[in-house]
């Protein structure tokens, strides 16, 4: 088999674009697990709602300039608020339960939210058009690469950097990191841990909503996108390390391109290959490439 180099490069760029989307979603999943200790199956549902909400907002704001960007902001904030409500009213009551109950609660949310989306938006495939400024494509090695994807490729690392800055340099970031290590001691030091948990869940949900909002122009929005993405997000956080921020980024950078390039070489095995990486990491280093062993 011989490949045109420019085609391989393009496919690599597509894989990296996907990696940025997965990173947005998985980073929220990872921070929620790191701090709250809850593996949130409903994270994919929040992502799906982000996409649906963006579709809704784009049609609401149809006459205003920059409608897409307003829609992204409105949709992701709405999803973040929903996350906050879920944490405050429901999830909070399950912290002292066994892990299985928390896991199944988030699965119950998957079922409920997927049907809510079906009730509101039906089962048709919906789509959002790209913002005017990012229509068209750039030429790379003679191949055309959508401008929107270029934007996503830049945005991903920016979000990662802002996030990293927040975690390392701000008071809230320090508290979040402390909560991940030892929530009792943090509470004893006078920090309102309950409120911190809510804030973390809101931030995580916002990232899921943002991922869904930004992915809306490049995919078809449809029922079932929640269950598909959540497994990919799991793979990424497991490979990088549950609760590890840069691990998630690394995990996304591995999974996106491996999948995209794998499809070129072994169209049938690409998906299996990703799961095999996940299994391999779990067996040899259960806490992930950049994670720390769980002490609790």
């Amino acid at each position: 088999m011989s490949f045109d180099l420019s085609f391989v490069v393009l496919q690599l760029l597509n894989g990296l674009t996907n990696a940025m989307f997965i990173f947005l979603i998985a980073s929220g999943l990872s921070i929620i697990f790191g701090v709250l200790g809850v593996l949130n199956f409903a994270h994919g549902s929040l992502y799906m709602l982000g996409a649906y909400a963006t579709y809704q907002c784009v049609s609401l704001f149809v006459d205003s300039p920059g409608q897409f960007w307003w829609a992204v902001i409105a949709a992701s904030v709405a999803v973040a608020l929903l996350g906050g409500i879920i944490e405050r009213l429901l999830l909070r009551r399950l912290y002292h339960h066994v892990e299985l109950n928390q896991l199944l609660f988030t699965y119950a949310l998957v079922l409920i939210l997927s049907d809510l989306a079906r009730i509101i938006w039906g089962v048709d495939q919906l789509s959002v058009s790209r913002p005017a400024i990012l229509r068209g494509a750039v030429e790379i090695l003679g191949q055309y690469f959508p401008k929107y994807n270029v934007f996503v490729l830049f945005l991903g690392p920016c979000v990662a950097f802002v996030f990293w800055f927040f975690m390392l340099r701000t008071r809230w970031g320090r508290m979040v990191r402390a909560a991940a290590l030892d929530r009792e001691t943090l509470g004893a030091l006078g920090v309102n841990v309950d409120r911190l948990f809510t804030v973390v869940f809101i931030i995580g949900s916002w990232l899921a909503g943002l991922g869904g909002a930004l992915v809306a122009p490049v995919i078809t929005i449809r029922p079932g996108m929640d269950v598909e993405i959540i497994i990919n997000a799991f793979i990424v956080v497991v490979i990088g390390g549950l609760g590890s921020f840069w691990g998630t980024f690394l995990g996304a950078l591995i999974v996106g391109p491996v999948y995209a390039l794998g499809i070129l070489v072994f169209p049938r095995l690409s998906m299996i290959f990703i799961y095999v990486i996940m299994v391999f990491v779990l067996i040899t280093r259960p806490w992930g490439l950049l994670g720390r062993p769980l002490q609790r």
Partner: protein, 294 residues
């Protein structure tokens, strides 16, 4: 219950066969969950292996139903041996994630291996064998298989082996201290569980006449966990009760509305918040309350 086919109701024959099959599936999961304390989030893999082993042996290899079905459990056990060998090295959330990852590999293989499994379109026209050529006869066959399996599972959990599993569930570290090879016993439980999950898969393949990759997809693992929890994971027959209630509700509800997942999710939330012991656990508490200790 054995007399139901005599009433001539196709509805109940169908429902009861379904309940027996998934009841066995949930019971086999509970050997891990309730008795050994291992949260398997990939039980769909062994159910799926059972489905495809049975279906493929009949349709592709042309083997008679009796032999194919007898082999089904061993395919499940073999898959569980290979997968379990790695999984029992991990604990808690990592164990759950690894079982999930392996089950997704099984799903991906089934989904992608078009020439063998038919891929997304699945395998069709798996007929009832000649000697079980009606729903009623197949119901009796299922009843017999499930009864024997339940009998064996019950023997297992009440045996010294079963006691060791429960000791592991309650405190794996201490069990290790008293000289028991915890990983080995967990692996044995994993294999037995895989064996019976595959048996239920094999029963289902013929009952349903067709099989699809979706039977190995992760939401199936979640659903059987819900059945187990709904019935009660700390009682032997709890999972069977859970399967019965859930499947009955699904059949009733889906005739009124297409939003069954919404209702299932709501039931699950109510269960987790108000009846964490499941139906059987709740009833046992009530009985204790009304009958003060002697």
């Amino acid at each position: 219950m054995g007399l139901v086919p005599l009433t001539g109701s196709r509805y109940y024959v169908f429902l009861l066969t379904d309940i027996l099959i998934f009841g066995l599936f949930a019971l086999s999961l509970n050997l891990l969950l309730g008795y050994t304390g291992l949260v398997s989030f990939g039980q769909a893999a062994y159910f799926g292996v059972g489905c495809y082993a049975c279906g493929l042996l009949i349709k592709k290899a042309g083997i008679s139903f009796g032999i194919a079905f007898a082999a089904t459990g061993f395919f499940g056990a073999a898959a569980a041996l290979i997968i379990g060998f790695f999984c029992v090295r991990l604990t808690r959330i990592y164990f759950a994630m690894l079982t999930l990852a392996f089950s997704q590999i099984v799903w991906a293989i089934v989904f992608k291996w078009n020439s063998l499994t038919g891929g997304d379109t699945g395998i069709y026209d798996i007929d009832f064998p000649k000697f079980l050529d009606s729903r009623a006869k197949y119901f009796y066959f299922t009843l017999a298989v499930v009864a024997i399996s339940v009998f064996i599972l019950r023997k297992i959990v009440n045996s010294p082996f079963g006691r060791i599993l429960m000791t592991i569930r309650d405190n794996p570290e201490r069990t290790e201290f008293i000289g028991i090879n915890v990983k080995l016993f967990q692996l044995l439980a994993f294999i037995i569980s895989g064996f019976f999950s595959a048996i239920s898969g094999g029963l289902f393949a013929v009952f349903n006449h067709s099989i699809f990759p979706d039977f190995c997809y992760w939401p199936v693992s979640a659903e059987v966990l819900i059945m187990t929890l709904l019935g009660g994971m700390y009682s032997f027959f709890g999972p069977l009760v859970g399967a019965a209630v859930l499947l009955y509700l699904r059949l009733e509800v889906t005739s009124y509305t297409e939003y069954w997942p919404f209702i299932l999710g709501t039931i699950l939330v109510l269960l987790l918040f108000f009846f964490p012991g499941g139906i059987v656990g709740f009833l046992q508490d009530q009985i204790k309350r009304w009958r003060p200790a002697k």
